[in-house]
Amino acid sequence: MKEINVSRLIPVVRKLCIDANYYASPDVVEKIKFFMDKEESPTARDILALMLENHKMAAEEQMPMCQDTGVAVVFVELGQDVHLVGGDFNTAINEGVRQGYQDGYLRKSMVDDPVIERKNTRDNTPALIYTEIVPGDSLKITVAPKGGGAENMSEVRMMKAADGIEGVKDFVVDRIKRSGGNPCPPVVVGVGIGGSFEQCALLAKKALLRPLTEKHPDPKWAAVEDEILERINKLGIGPQGLGGRTTALAVQILYKPCHIASMPVAVNVNCHAHRHESAVIE
């Protein structure tokens, strides 16, 4: 059993919130360049170039790439041999988020009562915290700030087994088609399949965490991802929806077993900023 004081989480979460918003991931930069070279629309190429320029300026100026610095989605992989001491775990993570959004000049985008009051909480808390117990004696934290524009284009559908893999492909492509320019394309498409109503949605979000340069480990699912991506990039939506061949940078699928009567499918859409940063506490 290893003891970790929860106060150690605060500066780590603070830094992850800031870094995820200031610095573009190398895999995102690589993908945008890859598609820019192939892009047929001159306007689309201009926009992609502007996105790359924005990455550089954000790092130089120490400003967030996008003003929508998102809801702080926090994934924790907690080693089962860790004993957390020194206070409340969730409170510590929220304190890290509070400090990161305050000190990093990040926008506070959370409202408490989501319908009637909609009052801003003023410090971007509460974070959305998903904790998983894993083997080991360390703690891995991933902060994935998620903007509203792309999140709003996401969807869960309880499909039938009879819909098959073609049904899944059609649903994902149609979801992106109906999203048009709203989610800030070129997007990254996370797809969660199986489990249950709520688990497939979480799978779709977790699918976004895979590096864009990595293929699905199972070749038959990798082929499905490639086919969906190709179909999405034939839709013509393009960067910002103004027309072009670069509508998505990647399609990433995660699946789990499910009930014989079910085939839940979730699509979680991410914008081109595609932010996430991780750290390990030992």
Partner: protein
Amino acid sequence: MANEIKLHTPLTSEMLEKLQVGDKVLLSGTIYTARDAAHKRLVELLEAGKELPFNPVGAVIYYVGPAPARPGKAIGSAGPTTSYRMDSFAPALMNAGLKAMIGKGPRGQSVVDSMVKNKAVYLAAVGGAAVVSAQAVQTAKIIAYEDLGAEAIRELRVVDFPVFVANDIKGNDIFKIGVEKYRR
């Protein structure tokens, strides 16, 4: 890309007549920020026959909730938010004289129809390129609804703010034309 046109606020119908979808516009002058919550209040004022916190005639509204400014900076990152959420409020503001809206993503048919009727345009800024957009802002001050935080109405002085004409006054829509051109 087609033309690059410089415009200065306040805008008039005559100035907008020459704009075509796809044109790049470098906008200078005064623009006002407003998004979901501020729009709700603005339209409530119009319905009650009261004055708005700014003169809507010839005005430009930018759909943005900027990030906080670092000390010494006019504004933090300030890219556009998704525009369709303002669709139900936009026609009332255009009827009151609003001449341009800046945001990202396509508009509903009622907004497109109102643009044709009122000779107003919709301009697309590049979503996510928020540091680039912020560079065009010289000064920013809150003029209403400070309680809304990032959603307060700010008066921005901008110089050569880069945007693309997404809907012109003839009812053309780049989100339809552009997509059709590159669909396979």
